[in-house]
Symmetry: C2
Subunit: 229 residues, 2 copies
Amino acid sequence: MNNLISIKSATLSEDIAQQLTNAIVQGHIPQGSKISEPELAKQYGVSRGPLREAIVKLEGLGLVTRTANVGARVIQLNTQDMLDTFTMREALEGMAARLAATTMPADEINSLYALLDKHQAHLDANQDEHYVQQGGNDDFHLRIIHASGNAKLIRLLTEELYAVIRMYRRHTSDQRSDPRQALREHKAILDAIANHEGDLAELLMRRHISRASQLLKQAMEHSSVASRI
Amino acid sequence: MNNLISIKSATLSEDIAQQLTNAIVQGHIPQGSKISEPELAKQYGVSRGPLREAIVKLEGLGLVTRTANVGARVIQLNTQDMLDTFTMREALEGMAARLAATTMPADEINSLYALLDKHQAHLDANQDEHYVQQGGNDDFHLRIIHASGNAKLIRLLTEELYAVIRMYRRHTSDQRSDPRQALREHKAILDAIANHEGDLAELLMRRHISRASQLLKQAMEHSSVASRI
DNA sequence: AGCCAATAAATTGTCGACAATCCAACTTGA
DNA sequence: TCAAGTTGGATTGTCGACAATTTATTGGCT
């Protein structure tokens, strides 16, 4: 049976990996559930060969854990892992902001200011409703990361870590997050970058992510997500 | 034909992945060379199934690059990639040192001091000959990383990034590195950790890695390794 | 009834073969 | 002679089937 969106990729394995990633991030495959190879193979209409390659890839992304002769399981979001992941984000995205402060071209900076204005306008028009910027080119963090100019850093953050990060963003109904505060922090970071103040940019980015993780922590501890074993 | 060391693992795929990793890191499979599936399958005495899974894993480790319908190639070490990778290391190991400054237990700190004394004695006895600490438990950096207590950080640094880092360490005959200077820096970092000075520990670790990368850069630019296309 | 051993079913790991794609050598025509 | 098209060989991608291992079920014993 065909699944939702069918992204035509060069190889079946890539295709399946992409679809599985989405399915897990969006919760269509529940956390902690077992990955049954025969079942999924039938579901996606492929043989187990490419499916297994996709699962190996997902293991590398940290979306599933595998045990020899037993199989793969979708990871379980929990507070400690979230904190650990976000601490890594602090280090990496802080560095990205620092690098961006010296390498980001003026027009890209202006384009980012325009994006923040757009976010501002959206908040004004929709009474502070959260702006969904999942992974697209409108995502402030992704823009900063790309501006770092560090290919390895970009790959790590956008291709290997972001799936899990998006999962945390999505599965915690972060109603207690304050979009206007986040926007102010984004603006402060961008100001530091525009002024080529690498130290400050890194500091602010770290603080920004640290604050987000604290909010997520509270949300997880008070929501059903965390308690659902 | 059996290859060198045969680490018995639960599954053939893991086994092959391990052996291939070693072969690439140690240069038995040369940089930039094509990975021929039929050839390797025959060489290791396995079918292409588990071999392909291993290659997918290696791609995740950044040891090979794959192109659809074309195949996999061993990466080419080059100065820019090295600098990018070491910048990430700065961010991540800097954070690890910071965390270690608050979480590292006293006995582990003492044990690390003892290790540094051992390194010192080795230098004294062998007229500054380089101490080979490739990946073992005698590796100062690995000890700090583990002391961070951040499981995600540990996994990323020790399981995903270290293969490439070891490759850089090994393939550049870093004769111009000064082991005594490195030892002094290690000691300063450990002092900061022992005093629970997280900020300082991070700063020193960053500086230490940055300095190492500069030395590596010079070594690569002046050695045949970098010019050998 | 409850627990342990033996057996059956299902799942994972591995293999060899076929299909699709790419690459190199060769032919053909201007 | 050179360029483009064609054909043959080799390699990668995919599949279905078998072997090995785990998990569930059944039966027997205390």
